[in-house]
């Protein structure tokens, strides 16, 4: 049976269409989820896409965290549902306390939009199990508030537990502490990533096809996961 991967649309989401397309190209069925509906329609995994949400008033992701669909996602993530938060989705996952730390204004205050090399360091997560440890991938980054911060104890814990999923290579685009581009929760089912794998799934539009690995990973994870 084809895996069904939900893609949430918040008011202000920009990359929900691309995320849904990436899901389809990876071989799964994308299911569009609406922020105002506390309903997951039985999906096997969820992507929180990039863009903005609720104007990102207060802080990025702060209000989206309380969206009706998020209550369901937070519950389901606790039970092992794979969740990938990209860019604004990463911010929402931090605000929802599904991931530690926070994302703040880029240190240099400039919006950064470029193709970025990442080194994949954690390959045991639901979203990175098709990569090789240490593999370098090329994926677009585009953010204004992508500077990952956490207290030193949290950073040390992330490193010790192998929960730094990816780091920036060849220049840190936003000042993130320890060059962190992506992290995961303890169980490895929730991953937040600042760059945009969904923009690197087709030769026509992306700098590489490297982003596809995140989406094929979750399918591999679902096949291996107990029902």
């Amino acid at each position: 049976m084809t895996a069904r991967v939900g893609v949430v649309t918040f008011p202000g989401s920009l990359d929900d269409g691309d995320a849904a397309r990436a899901v389809r190209i990876a071989g799964a069925e994308p299911v569009r989820l609406w922020h105002g509906e506390a309903e997951l329609h039985g999906v096997d995994a969820v992507v929180l896409p990039g863009g903005f949400s609720y104007g990102d008033y207060l802080r990025c992701g702060a209000i989206a965290r309380f969206a009706p669909v998020m209550e369901k996602i937070i519950d389901a993530a606790g039970g092992g549902l794979p969740v990938l938060g990209i860019c604004n989705g990463f911010q929402i996952l931090c605000e929802a306390h599904l991931l530690p730390g926070a994302l703040t204004r880029n240190q240099h205050l400039h919006f950064r939009n470029r193709d970025q090399i990442l080194r994949i360091e954690a390959t045991g997560t639901a979203w990175t199990n098709t990569f090789q440890p240490g593999q370098e991938v090329l994926i677009p980054v585009k953010n204004g508030e992508g500077c990952y911060v956490a207290d030193p104890a949290t950073l040390d814990q992330l490193e010790a537990e192998g929960r730094v999923v990816a780091r920036y290579v060849g220049g840190n685009p936003n000042g993130s502490q320890r060059d962190i581009a992506a992290i995961t929760n303890q169980a490895g089912n929730v991953v937040g990533i600042m760059p945009h794998p969904e923009h690197a799934v087709e030769a026509l539009t992306g700098p590489s096809l490297d982003g596809l690995g995140f989406f094929t990973s979750v399918l591999k994870h679902l096949v291996g996961a107990p029902a």
């Binding site: 530690p100 730390g101 240190q107 205050l109 000042g175």
Partner: protein
């Protein structure tokens, strides 16, 4: 009716690039004796009835501030205007 004011500031150890940008602009105004600028957010809350500081702290902790990067303080200020005249 007193108004509840919540002040949210980035924790001291969190870099405040916005404040730094402002600090860096001050010499252009001829101001050269400022060591640092930190920028925060002030939120004014008017309750329908008596102001509830505990409730305000809960709001601040859950939504207005992100305890990972921000500290907040809550206090009351007196307002002269009647509640219905507020914008």
């Amino acid at each position: 009716m007193p108004r509840v004011v919540v002040d949210v500031m980035l924790k001291p150890e969190i870099l405040d690039p916005q404040g730094q940008a402002v600090a860096n602009a001050l010499p252009r105004l001829g101001v050269n004796d400022v060591a640092s600028v930190r920028i925060g957010r002030r939120i004014e809350i008017d309750f329908t009835g008596e102001p509830d500081l505990d409730r305000a702290r809960e709001i601040a902790d859950k939504l207005l501030a992100n305890p990972v990067i921000e500290d907040f303080t809550v206090h009351l200020v007196e307002t002269d205007e009647p509640a219905e005249a507020r914008p």
